[in-house]
């Protein structure tokens, strides 16, 4: 076998010489990778957004609660002020803090909302207005009035369906009744300050936000809370953050740390379904990319029968001929792959870094449900995915060259010369 560097030089020269053929072959791989990067990043972005929208409306990527709360959901299972102190300090740890984007504290209780014209069972959430406003985005779904202002202890923020059933509007009085921390049934006056609409009946009919301080005094709960909800920068951070917090907070068995999959199993089911669809589409996309590449490479190399005949006649061994084809394949795949990644990244970033807004695809009068899920998908780049796409195309490209390389070793020189160039 001649020196490998010679093979490489020959390979490069061949590729350059047959520029059109090389470009056509390469183009298949470049486009393939670029499209993979584009579609994966948007799909990944949509996936992240979907999860984020879901956890914002619930208990965040990670929820910190008293151990029995998730099962029983009563005020008896609450975090006392001392527990909250421990939580606060645990959240200060750098490994955790750098992933936490938002954090909100809530005191929740099931109760009854009554007005002069109706009574409806509700979930009352005592929240810190400043953090909750950013966390749940319910403040953005406002259709009337304001979100809870800092200086109004009797403010209440409720869904439009609930307001309609109670026949109330901004400024109306509503009485909330629930069992407090001592088991007594207690009432609290609130005034409707703002009304929201998400389009989700479960939210619009049952959720009421009031200031945390008001909830605490109403329910004689001192400095307690039922949930501390955390929003993280990416769903990938859920595991490490949950683990770190669990280590810090589990001693004493007073505090439980839940990942969103445990705290919101319905969301997890929905996300899994989404994942499933994703896998299927990804598989078909990969198949078509592979197909285009294989087809192109096979075609291009099998056209060169005569050329190989000449080369063999001039003294190259079978092995070297085959090796050369393989090397060409490797070089082409590698370069194309890298260019493709760069191209895909560039195009996606340039045109869609602010998100692919496909609200134009939807009809007029898109209902409020769309307001919960932003019709704007931001690309999410995952290094692992990028490398994976590159590797995939590389392997396909090289793999596709194997058969032609093998064929090249089997050429009968005399026969080959009969073929047209």
């Amino acid at each position: 076998m001649r020196r490998p560097t010679l093979l490489v030089r020959l390979a490069t020269r061949n590729l350059r010489r047959q520029l059109r053929r090389s470009l056509l072959t390469s183009a298949a791989m470049v486009l393939g990778v670029a499209l993979l990067v584009f579609s994966r990043s948007l799909a990944s972005g949509a996936h992240e957004d979907w999860i984020e929208a879901g956890v914002r409306l619930g208990t965040g990527h990670v929820a910190i609660q008293a151990p029995g709360y998730r099962a029983r959901r009563t005020l008896d299972d609450r975090l006392e002020a001392s527990d909250l102190e421990r939580v606060r300090s645990a959240l200060g740890a750098p490994a955790v803090a750098r992933h936490v984007v938002e954090r909100t504290t809530r005191l929740e209780v099931q109760g009854l909302a009554s007005s002069a014209n109706g009574a409806v069972p509700v979930l009352v959430m005592g929240v810190e207005p400043a953090t909750e406003r950013r966390f749940s985005r319910l403040a953005e779904r406002r259709v009337e009035g304001d979100y809870l202002p800092a200086d109004d202890p009797l403010a209440a923020y409720m869904g439009r369906e609930l307001a309609e059933r109670l026949d109330v509007g901004p400024g109306s009085r509503v009485v909330l009744t629930a069992q407090d921390a001592t088991g007594q049934v207690v009432g609290q006056l609130v005034r409707v300050r703002g009304i929201f609409e998400t389009g989700l009946p479960d939210v619009d009919e049952r959720i009421v936000h009031i200031p945390l301080a008001t909830a605490r005094s109403w329910l004689s709960a001192g400095g307690a809370a039922t949930t501390v909800a955390l929003l993280l920068d990416a769903s990938g951070a859920v595991d490490p953050v949950a683990r770190a917090l669990d280590e810090a907070l589990s001693p004493g068995r007073r505090i439980a740390v839940l990942r969103w999959q445990e705290a919101m199993p319905e969301l997890e089911a929905a996300v899994r379904m989404d994942d499933f669809g994703d896998y299927v589409f990804h598989a078909v996309t990969l198949a078509i990319v592979a197909l285009a590449i294989i087809n192109t490479i096979l075609m291009s190399v099998l056209q060169r029968t005569r050329e190989f005949g000449v080369v063999r006649a001039l003294g190259m061994t079978r092995g070297e001929t085959g090796a050369q084809v393989l090397v060409e394949g490797v070089l082409l795949s590698a370069t194309s792959g890298l260019i493709g990644i760069a191209l895909g990244f560039l195009v996606t970033w340039t045109f869609f870094r602010n998100g692919l807004d496909y609200s134009f695809l939807m009809e007029e009068g898109f209902r409020a449900a769309g307001a919960v899920i932003d019709p704007v998908v931001r690309p999410h780049f995952d290094l692992l995915q990028l490398v994976g796409s590159l590797l995939f195309v590389f392997i396909i490209g090289v793999g596709a060259s194997l058969y032609p390389a093998w064929r090249a070793t089997r050429i009968d020189v005399a026969e080959a010369m009969k073929f047209e160039a």
Partner: protein, 421 residues
């Protein structure tokens, strides 16, 4: 010299067979590309249909019939046919006659409570005909323990969360209390026949199912008085048309009945569908682009490699237009054969998966999606539009891509090409 109109199409056709390998590649590539695009679109539509089916199929069904004034207050007195009720059997038969309706189930609703020992839970009671309901509401398939209640018996089917709150299990006795239609307080003892776990907290905590006759007895409604008929339509997009047809059918015998499709009573599903459709649009586009590119690439390559052949023909006196025409017919022949093969490959696959969607739950191990409500299957719905569009697009691509090099070849003096420049 008189030019005999040469049968270019015959030459074109023969060229296909002449270079078998090249033709096979092209045919294979185009056929598979067609298959991928059509399959992808079919899968996408199938996913959306599955998603809507899941959302509407849990309990509400895709079509519903009520008395005109039943919604939105859902008064227990507003039964179909008014105070006198209706011929339920005849109504169900009429509804099931429609080709789109697969099954219809009658229901009675009542609000009340269920109590066991010291525990009481506010409940929505749904009276069902178990055999019919099994074919309509997917929630009937989420049984965890025990079984659905039997007609004629005082049996109750409750959610897991309710069972937990009541501390009741299968076989236990519970009290069901509901205000009756005559003003009295209906109450009776029931036995828990089974427990379901839909994975949806609201349903698991608030719903209790019992035989329709048992509920009618409890709340003093005659056997002919029902509140709702829920129907299952396999392809949710056929529901609106079915609504129109049924409205006409019911007018004479059941004048006060109103039919609604899910697009009216669960409008948020329409929005979700639009949302998913627009995301998948991106993915389908990616596959389409890659397919088109793959075909173009192949054709370009195939034709470029034949420059010598064209030059020879030109030297022998064939006009450039003659070459073009033979290439055109060749491309047409190739395209035709490819699409035929593609169709042969795709349609049976589509039909198979449409009838019997392959179950992909093996991908998910022990995880049950939403209590078994959601099945990860590879569902496809026929995409007739895309079948035509893809065929035209790919065919067109093949022809254009074949012609481009032929046009160019016609311009170069044959001597140059034959010399190898």
């Amino acid at each position: 010299m008189t030019v005999v109109p040469a049968p270019w199409w015959r030459i074109g056709w023969r060229n296909v067979g002449r270079n078998r390998r090249r033709s096979l590649f092209t045919i294979g590539g185009l056929a598979l590309a067609y298959c991928a695009v059509v399959l992808m679109t079919g899968l996408s539509r199938g996913m959306i249909a599955e998603m809507i089916g899941n959302g509407t199929g849990i309990l509400s069904g895709q079509l519903q019939v009520h008395a005109v004034d039943y919604l939105p207050e859902r008064s227990v007195h507003e039964t179909v046919g008014g105070q006198d009720g209706t011929d339920v059997g005849a109504l169900l038969a009429t509804l099931e006659e429609d080709p789109a309706v697969e099954a219809a189930a009658p229901r009675v609703y009542g609000g009340g409570l269920v109590s066991a020992g010291d525990n009481t839970v506010a409940t929505e009671l749904i009276g069902i005909e178990p055999a019919r309901e099994r074919r309509v509401a997917a929630i009937t398939r989420t049984g965890l323990e025990g079984r659905l209640p039997r007609s004629g018996e005082n049996e109750l089917w409750i959610g897991r969360e309710m069972a937990r709150q009541l501390a009741a299990g299968v076989g236990d006795e519970v009290v069901v209390v509901a205000p009756a239609a005559d003003g009295s307080l209906g109450n009776d003892l029931f036995t828990v026949s089974g427990i379901f776990s839909s994975g949806l907290a609201e349903l698991d905590a608030r719903l209790a199912f019992l035989p329709i006759d048992a509920l009618q007895r409890l709340i003093v409604l005659e056997p002919g008085r029902i509140h709702e008929v829920a129907m299952r339509v396999a392809d949710p997009w056929r529901a609106p048309a079915a609504e129109a047809r049924l409205a006409g059918r019911l007018e004479s015998r059941f004048p006060d009945a109103r039919v609604r499709a899910w697009t009216e009573f669960q409008p948020e599903m329409v929005d979700y569908a639009a949302l998913f459709e627009s995301v998948e649009w991106v993915i389908v586009l990616v596959v389409f682009v890659m397919a088109v590119f793959g075909v173009a690439n192949t054709m370009l390559m195939a034709t470029f490699e034949r420059r010598r052949e064209f030059a020879l023909l030109l030297a022998l006196g064939v006009t450039p237009s003659g070459i073009l025409r033979s290439v055109l017919w060749e491309a047409v022949a190739l395209g035709g054969v490819s699409l035929a093969s593609g169709a042969l490959l795709t349609f049976p696959l589509l039909a198979w998966w449409h009838r019997a969607p392959p179950d992909m739950s093996w991908l998910y191990g022990g995880f049950t999606m939403a209590g078994g409500l959601v099945r990860p299957v590879l569902r496809v719905e026929y995409p007739p539009g895309m079948m035509v569009v893809a065929a035209l697009a790919l065919f067109g691509t093949a022809v254009i891509a074949a012609l481009v090099p032929a046009v160019r070849a016609g311009r170069v003096p044959p001597a140059d090409t034959l010399q190898g420049r």
